[in-house]
């Protein structure tokens, strides 16, 4: 029951961010879907006592893979799906606590929370990039097409 509530609300949450970032109208439900999958995986990992940094990494990894699948399916840039997809994982609450601790002159807690926020956002970024690179490697085996990062590198090489 708890899981279903989380699923529904993370879907609405991410879809709303799709609207704020002005995603194409027909892509908005899929943005919500990407975010809901990423959040549910994060949520379940937290429930079984995985640390928040690792859970964020895996959540962002899944978000990027699902976003890549949708991007190929709809022939739209991947950025449309993964930007709103990672929003539920962004450590907004921890960043807020950092600010609050520093304003209240509790510097020790402030540094601790700041480090946590930094590690989580680093994990999210790494998850996104790793997923993209792994998909590129897979595509190399199947030869079905190039991702933009790969064709960019190839175009640069050809110029030399």
């Amino acid at each position: 029951m708890e899981l279903i509530i989380q699923l529904i609300f993370s879907f609405i949450f991410t879809a709303c961010f799709g609207i704020i970032f002005n995603a194409p109208t027909k892509a908005i439900p899929y943005c919500g879907f990407v975010g809901a999958i990423g959040w549910i995986i994060y949520y379940m990992l937290i429930q079984i006592n995985v640390t928040e940094v690792q859970a964020s990494f895996i959540g962002a990894f899944v978000v990027a893979i699902v976003a890549q699948i949708f991007a190929r399916r709809f022939k739209m840039p991947m950025i449309i799906f993964n930007v709103s997809g990672i929003i539920p994982l962004v450590p907004g609450g921890i960043a807020y606590n950092t600010m609050r601790n520093i304003v209240e002159l509790d510097y020790t807690m402030g540094i601790q929370n700041g480090m946590r926020a930094f590690m989580i956002s680093g994990a999210i970024a790494m998850g996104l990039v790793f997923a993209e690179v792994i998909i590129q490697l897979m595509m190399k085996f199947f030869k079905t097409g190039l991702t933009s990062m790969q064709s960019f590198a190839r175009a640069k090489r050809r110029l030399k």
Binding site: I19, N22, K75, Y96
Partner: protein, 249 residues
């Protein structure tokens, strides 16, 4: 049309495509990739570009002229990125000519793809209240977060129109959000001030810029990555400062 004019048209077309994508918040390496891909489809093999978040330099080769396009402001507009992307796809697939592509890009530049402002406000409000459920907040705090999120987003949009100083509008929005949250708690309309504030500032958080900054760094675009990182840091600092004023009192 002679060769010279053809090159000039290609240069204008490519530069416009790059400018539109960069203004809408695309990744730097994707902008460069799109421009080079379009150039190759027009049999221009030795095109060179240098893209930063604040300006684009594009040259079609050693003998051709070079043009610069400056980018004064960047917003998040995923719809426009998708539109420019589809034009570049069509041009690369030789489905449209260069003239048609240029006309279409000019039309995209003039069109406003944003949904009506009240729908955006509603989305910001709903997102703010949904945040409470995801982070174990109280259900009774949802109305306060709904109002605070909507008002915060409205303030940032209106002051951005009026002043054009991003730092100030974000600071003001965070201040208003903090004020509404603390008033709601004061009058018994909310329980946890912290969660209401965090939920309500989520629509202002520079999520896209942070993601793009890291991806640009990984693709080897260090100038762009650092510049975008600075922009994201400034936004985060503005929000933090606005909230800090409320928390301190």
């Amino acid at each position: 049309m002679n060769n010279e004019q053809q090159y000039e048209l290609a240069l204008d077309c490519l530069l416009l495509a790059g400018q539109l994508m960069m203004e809408s918040g695309a990744e730097t390496y994707r902008v460069e990739d799109t421009m080079l891909r379009m150039a190759r489809s027009q049999n221009i093999e030795d095109a060179q570009s240098y893209v930063t978040p604040t300006g684009i330099i594009l040259s079609l080769g050693k003998r051709q002229i070079t043009k610069i396009s400056s980018i004064p402001a960047r917003i998040t507009d995923l719809h426009k990125i998708a539109k420019v992307n589809s034009v570049s796809r069509k041009l690369s697939g030789q489905m449209i000519t260069l003239e048609e592509a240029y006309e279409e890009l000019k039309r995209i530049q003039k069109t406003n793809y944003f949904l009506p402002i009240h729908i955006q406000l509603l989305a910001a409000s709903v997102a703010s209240s949904c945040f409470l459920v995801l982070f174990n907040g109280y259900w009774s705090d949802m109305p306060a977060a709904f109002v605070a999120g909507g008002v915060g987003f409205a303030v940032v949009t209106i002051t951005q129109e009026m002043t054009r100083v991003k730092f100030f509008s974000e600071f003001l929005a965070a201040l208003v959000v903090g004020l509404i949250a603390s008033l709601a708690v004061h009058f018994g309309l909310g329980i946890e001030m912290d969660k209401i504030i965090v939920g309500a500032v989520m629509p202002l958080v520079p999520g896209l810029i942070i993601t793009n900054a890291v991806r640009d760094l990984m693709a080897g675009h260090f100038t762009a990555g650092i510049a975008k990182g600075a922009e994201a840091f400034l936004t985060a600092f503005a929000i933090g400062a606005g909230i800090a004023v409320i928390v301190a009192f």
